[in-house]
C-alpha cells in the first residue's frame, strides 16, 4: 500500500488547542484539571472530565458563519482548520483535497436534543436546525463548505474502529490518485447522556463495573486532524504513515512484534485491561496517553498525533495512563525514553474482537 506523509496536524482537547499545548501536557504528564456537572435524577454530580474549548474557532470562522454550528461541528472545524493552517494549506491547496471525518458517537448532543423533543413534546416534533446538525455527515459538509472544497467528502462511524477506517480510506484515495491531499481526522463530543453512563451507575462519581466494563479513563472529547499527501512527493513534517491495517483478531494478534514501541488505545469502554495482555504480544516499549485526552471512541486519532510528535522529537513521552492498574499490568514507562529513529505503532483493540493498527515512521 502507498505511504502517506503527514504534513499538518490540528488537535483540540482537554489539553487545550493546538499541537504545542498537547506537547506541553505530554511533557507535564497531565492536562489541566476540569470537571463536568452531570444532572441526574438524584441531583447533580461533579466528575472529572477533559473537555475541549472551541473559542479559538473565532480565528477562522466569523460569528455570522458559525452561528448555527453545534459544539461537535465546532470541534471538527477547529481541528480541520488547525491542521490545514499547520500545513500551510488553509487558504489554497495544490490540486484536489478529500475530507474524511471519523466519529464514534456522532453529534450526540444534537441527536439527543432532537430525539428528546420527539419523545417529550407531542406538539413540536423537533427543530429542523437540530435535525440537520444531527445528521452524521453535517460536520464534514460544513468543512467542505467553509473551505470551498469540492473534492470527495466522507464520514465514517464505527465506534472505536472509525479512525483506522478513515486512515485506511485516506491511503487508498491517495493511491488511486482520487485526491492529491486528504484532510482526515477524528472527532467526538461529550454530552450529558454519556456522562450518565459513565458516572451515575454506581453513584460514586466513577462509572462502576457495568457489564464488566471498568472505567479506565476520564471523560474526554475533542478532535485530531491530519493533512496527508503521497510520501515521496512531499516531506512529512510529522513523519510517514507506513501502513494501516485492521480486521478481526485471529486468536492472538501476530501484531507489532518488531521491537518498535507501541501506543495502545485505552478508551475506557473496552475491557482493555484484560484484553491487551491476553491478545497482543509486544516486544517493544508500550505507551498509553489516554490520561491526556480522555476516553473517547476516536482516541486513536490522538494516539497518532502523539506518535508523530514522539517520532519527530526522538523521544517517547512518559505514559499518561488512565490508571495505575494499567501501569502495573504493562510496566508503562514513567520517564521519557529516547526513541531510536524508526517506527512506532498505534494499536487499538476494538469492542468486537477487531483491531485497527497504524504504523508510523520518520521520513
Amino acid at each position: 500500500m502507498i505511504r502517506a506523509a503527514i504534513t499538518g496536524m490540528g488537535v483540540v482537547g482537554g489539553f487545550g488547542c493546538g499541537v504545542s499545548l498537547l506537547k506541553q501536557a505530554l511533557e507535564k504528564g497531565r492536562s489541566p484539571d476540569q470537571t463536568v456537572r452531570i444532572s441526574t435524577e438524584k441531583g447533580d454530580i461533579t466528575a472529572p472530565a477533559l473537555l475541549a474549548d472551541t473559542a479559538p474557532l473565532a480565528r477562522y470562522v466569523s460569528r455570522k458563519a458559525r452561528r448555527r454550528f453545534d459544539h461537535y461541528t465546532r470541534l471538527a472545524l477547529l481541528g480541520g482548520f488547525l491542521a490545514l493552517d499547520d500545513a500551510g494549506m488553509r487558504e489554497s491547496r495544490p490540486g484536489r483535497m478529500g475530507i474524511i471525518l471519523a466519529t464514534g458517537y456522532g453529534p450526540t448532543c444534537n441527536t439527543a436534543d432532537f430525539t428528546h423533543s420527539l419523545t417529550s413534546d407531542s406538539v413540536s416534533f423537533g427543530s429542523p436546525t437540530r435535525f440537520s446538525n444531527s445528521v452524521h455527515n453535517a460536520a464534514a459538509a460544513y468543512l467542505a463548505i467553509l473551505l470551498r472544497e469540492k473534492g470527495p467528502s466522507l464520514s465514517v462511524s464505527q465506534f472505536d474502529m472509525s479512525v483506522a477506517q478513515a486512515l485506511l480510506t485516506a491511503l487508498i484515495w491517495l493511491s488511486e490518485g482520487r485526491v492529491d491531499t486528504v484532510l482526515v481526522g477524528g472527532v467526538d463530543e461529550y454530552c450529558n447522556v454519556l456522562g450518565h453512563y459513565r458516572q451515575t451507575l454506581d453513584g460514586r462519581g466513577s462509572a462502576g463495573a457495568v457489564q464488566g466494563e471498568p472505567a479506565l479513563a476520564v471523560i474526554g472529547e475533542g478532535a485530531a486532524f491530519f493533512v496527508l499527501s503521497k510520501a515521496g512527493e512531499t516531506a512529512g513534517t510529522y513523519g510517514i504513515i507506513e501502513s494501516v491495517s485492521m480486521g478481526k483478531i485471529p486468536g492472538r494478534l501476530p501484531g507489532p512484534d518488531d521491537g518498535s514501541p507501541v501506543i495502545l488505545g485505552a478508551d475506557g469502554y473496552t475491557d482493555c485491561l484484560n484484553r491487551y495482555p491476553r491478545l497482543v504480544s509486544i516486544s517493544g516499549t508500550i505507551g498509553v496517553y489516554t490520561g491526556v485526552y480522555g476516553g473517547l471512541p476516536v482516541g486513536q486519532a490522538f494516539d497518532m498525533a502523539i506518535a508523530a510528535l514522539s517520532l519527530t522529537g526522538g523521544m517517547l513521552y512518559p505514559s499518561v495512563s488512565p490508571g495505575t492498574v494499567f501501569d502495573d499490568t504493562f510496566g508503562l514507562p514513567r520517564p521519557a525514553i529516547p526513541l531510536k529513529p524508526g517506527r512506532l505503532h498505534c494499536l487499538k483493540l476494538g469492542s468486537s474482537d477487531d483491531y485497527g493498527m497504524l504504523t508510523l515512521s520518520v521520513n
Binding site: 440537520s132 452524521h136 455527515n137 474502529m161 485506511l168
Partner: protein, 400 residues
C-alpha cells in the same frame, strides 16, 4: 484519475418494500406497482402523514424473522447479504478462509440514541445500556462481521443519502488495492421515527406517494431496506467457475461545498462526481445505456438532477426507483446499484413510477414506460444531505 480495472460483482441481494429478494423487487419494478401506507412501526398523532414504504415482516426468511437477539435493521442486512452470498454460489463457511471485508452505508445503524433507549430514560441513567453495547447491537457492519466470523477490514459509511453508493465505490477500491479477496458491500436503513420527523421538519416530504420529476412533485417518501453486492478479486474469480453478475467500473465522489440542506443550484458538484466516475471507468458518456437517477421527488433535487443530466449526459434514458421503494437513505445507493445491474442483465429498465406530468421547468425527462435497452453500461447517482454526491459506473460483466 486514470482508468482502473473493473471489479467483478458475483452476487447481489435486496430486500425492500418492492420485494423480499432482488428478483421479486425487479418484478415489482417492471409491473409498475406500489402500495405505501402510513408508518406502522411508530405511532404518530399528526394529520397529513407522508406515506412510507416499509418492509413487511413476512418478507424476511423464517430463520431470520424468528431471531429475537438482533435488531430489525440487522435482520434486513442479514436477509440481503445471505441472498447475495447464495447468489454468488458461495456459503458462509467459504468466507472464513478468505480475507473478507464488509463495507456498508447506513444512518440509523450508527445512531447511538435509539428510540427505545430514549423512551425508557430520557434524562436518567438508571436503565442504561452502555454506548459500547448499544453500538455493538446497532451497527450493521460490526454485527455482520461478528455473525459470520469474518476477518475484516470493515467500514461504516455515514454520508446520509449517498452512503450506499459510497460504500460500493470504496469497496471496489479495497479489491483493486489487494486488501481483500471478497467484499460484502452495500447499505441498509430502517424506518425510524427520528428520521421521519426530521425530514418532516425540513418540509420535504410528500403527503402523496412521491412523484419524481413530475410537475406536481412535493417531496420524498421514506422507505427502508437493505441491498448488498459481493465483490471479488480477480484471483478469486479466476480459481473457480465465475458467476459474474456484473462489474463496478468506476466511482466518483464530490462535495457541493454549497449548503447543508440545499443542493448547489449549478449542479457543479454532481458533474464533478460524474466526470470522475467516467474517467475511472475509462468509458465515454455515449456508452452509458441508462441512468438510475437519485430522483427523490423534492423540488430542488429533481430540478438540479434534470439539468445536469441534460447537460452532461444528454439523450440517455433515465428513471428513479424511489417511487417503488421510497427513499431508503443509506440503503438507497446500494439498492439502485443492484437494480441497475439487474436491468443490464434483463436488458430492460422500469418506468419512473410517479412521473406522469412533465415539468416544463425541467430540461430532461425520465422514462414513463418500461423500455428495453441495448448497452452494457449503466450509471447510478446519489445526491445527499450535506452536498455529498456519489456516482457508480456499472457494467454487465462482459469485461470479466
Amino acid at each position: 484519475m486514470t482508468p482502473r480495472l473493473p471489479v467483478a460483482v458475483t452476487g447481489m441481494g435486496c430486500i425492500c418494500h418492492a420485494g423480499a429478494t432482488l428478483n421479486t423487487s425487479m418484478q415489482t419494478l417492471y409491473r409498475g406497482v406500489r402500495n405505501p401506507g402510513p408508518p406502522a412501526v411508530f405511532k404518530c398523532p399528526l394529520e397529513d402523514l407522508s406515506p412510507v414504504f416499509e418492509v413487511p415482516q413476512t418478507f424476511l426468511p423464517v430463520d431470520i424473522r424468528r431471531r429475537n437477539d438482533i435488531p430489525w435493521l440487522f435482520k434486513l442486512v442479514l436477509a440481503a447479504a445471505s441472498e447475495a452470498i447464495r447468489h454468488a454460489g458461495r456459503t458462509i463457511r467459504d468466507l472464513r478462509d478468505l480475507r473478507v471485508g464488509v463495507c456498508l452505508g447506513t444512518n440509523v445503524g450508527t445512531a447511538m440514541n435509539n428510540e427505545t433507549y430514549y423512551r425508557n430514560c430520557p434524562e436518567s441513567g438508571e436503565s442504561f445500556v452502555s454506548p459500547r453495547e448499544r453500538f455493538l447491537q446497532s451497527n450493521p457492519t460490526a454485527a455482520l462481521v461478528r455473525e459470520w466470523h469474518l476477518s475484516g477490514p470493515t467500514l461504516t459509511v455515514v454520508t446520509a443519502c449517498s452512503a450506499g453508493t459510497d460504500a460500493i465505490g470504496l469497496a471496489a477500491g479495497w479489491i483493486r488495492e489487494g486488501i481483500c479477496d471478497l467484499v460484502i458491500a452495500g447499505g441498509a436503513d430502517a424506518m425510524y421515527q427520528v428520521t421521519y420527523h426530521g425530514f418532516r421538519s425540513l418540509m420535504i416530504m410528500d403527503t402523496d406517494p412521491c412523484r419524481p420529476f413530475d410537475r406536481r412533485r412535493k417531496g420524498m417518501n421514506l422507505g427502508e431496506g437493505a441491498a448488498v453486492m459481493v465483490l471479488e478479486s480477480p484471483e478469486l474469480t479466476g480459481i473457480r467457475p465465475p458467476r459474474v453478475q456484473g462489474s463496478i467500473l468506476g466511482y466518483g465522489a464530490s462535495a457541493d461545498a454549497y449548503h447543508l440542506t440545499s443542493p448547489d443550484p449549478t449542479g457543479a458538484g454532481l458533474e464533478l462526481a460524474i466526470d470522475d466516475a467516467l474517467r475511472e471507468s475509462g468509458v465515454s458518456f455515449q456508452e452509458v445505456a441508462f441512468i438510475n437517477a437519485h430522483g427523490t421527488g423534492t423540488d430542488d433535487n429533481d430540478r438540479i438532477e434534470s439539468q445536469v443530466l441534460a447537460r452532461r449526459l444528454p439523450g440517455i434514458p433515465f428513471f428513479s426507483t424511489k417511487g417503488y421503494t421510497g427513499h431508503t437513505l443509506g440503503a438507497a445507493g446500494a439498492m439502485e446499484a443492484v437494480f441497475s445491474m439487474a436491468c443490464l442483465k434483463n436488458r430492460k429498465i422500469p418506468a419512473c413510477l410517479g412521473y406522469e406530468e412533465p415539468d416544463p421547468m425541467l430540461p430532461s425527462r425520465p422514462v414513463r414506460e418500461n423500455r428495453s435497452i441495448r448497452g452494457r453500461i449503466a450509471l447510478s447517482e446519489s445526491l445527499a444531505f450535506g452536498g455529498n454526491n456519489a456516482v457508480l459506473i456499472i457494467g454487465d460483466g462482459a469485461d470479466q
